[in-house]
Symmetry: C2
Subunit: 201 residues, 2 copies
Amino acid sequence: MIDSSEAAPPPRRRRSDARRSIDAILNAARVVLGERPDASMEDIAATAGVTRQTVYAHFPSRDALVVALIEAAAAEYLATLDAADLDTAPPAEALARFLDAGWQFLRRHPLLLSPTAPGAPRPNSNALSDVVPPRLERLILRGQRTGDFGASLPAAWLADAVIGLQQIAAAQVAAGRATTHEAEKLCLESTLRLCGGETSR
Amino acid sequence: MIDSSEAAPPPRRRRSDARRSIDAILNAARVVLGERPDASMEDIAATAGVTRQTVYAHFPSRDALVVALIEAAAAEYLATLDAADLDTAPPAEALARFLDAGWQFLRRHPLLLSPTAPGAPRPNSNALSDVVPPRLERLILRGQRTGDFGASLPAAWLADAVIGLQQIAAAQVAAGRATTHEAEKLCLESTLRLCGGETSR
DNA sequence: AGCTATCTCTTACAGGTTGTCAAGGTTGCG
DNA sequence: CGCAACCTTGACAACCTGTAAGAGATAGCT
């Protein structure tokens, strides 16, 4: 038995032409939805230099397109996280690198600032929230074992809190209430304060 | 000069009947949009026991309805905040009360967990984010002056961070990854850690 | 009680968006 | 070259938002 009833459709052979269209569509969606999350399929298609029906030829629905976009973004994100070796650097340093990767990611994918644009299939389960937080959680857990971080708060919660804090900081920048530099500084300091310290009793 | 060119349309006399409809509509919108942010006007109207056109008779557009809903929610929120005297209690205690008011608010207005449902008129300026954070900022500023809180981070940022943290905690509950009790505890502890302490150098 | 302004309901319409379908032209690849 | 895969055009149904006019019901005032 090779692979009977699982989500592994044979990665069917595509023509070079088709893959070019798919890339153009995903790229257009990233840009257009980034600045206008409620843009129409027509807008996305036009930006990609393609007809609306061509978009539907590759993505069965708008939600499917967004999901694919998020999955591609998650893959990039993971690659960046793998490049910075979070598992060997000292925890505080690793945390700073994690945040750097996040800033890089948010700059490229501003869409992800408003996570609930069309009401995803299941509001919570996207590739990002399934795959990124565990990395950070592992990092924080390591820091708690080495004593660099306090252990009075569960690592899973801290991971989500840190990621959330970064999104809040990014929103401050988008709202024009802080410069990028200030936001990064505030975020790093707040994050260290949240994770570090000897506040347990 | 009494009031020439400002947003003060003479609060025109409404029939009791009309006000009842408006209340029913706002209430229905609160409930329906709370569990399904992309519900149609028809759905809201039906839940309110009213026709769709009646909704449009009172609210010129969907966005206007959402704005009115948020304004009503903000008024409630402010009333709750006024009831808990944040300006006299010791800062740590006052902060706990502020968070309590927040939980109460989020329980009643789950809509506000996904702030960017239809793409608000201006993404950032709603009554909530204009009026609630300053209260918290004042509280934090007081705590920083009395020495209860650390002063190395600006109060305005801490205010937004605390409110954001609470929304993250609420999202954890909504996602089934924590109980209400756990979330409240984690949120309070994290918040105190963010604000308090002697980490300045 | 009666009158009137206000409110609601019904019916209808225009415009936009999402999906779907079929026919025909074009391009990549063996 | 030839075929299958791909793109395009045009058309369609369904839904949602917003607007409009007229008939009927209701509240408030005299």
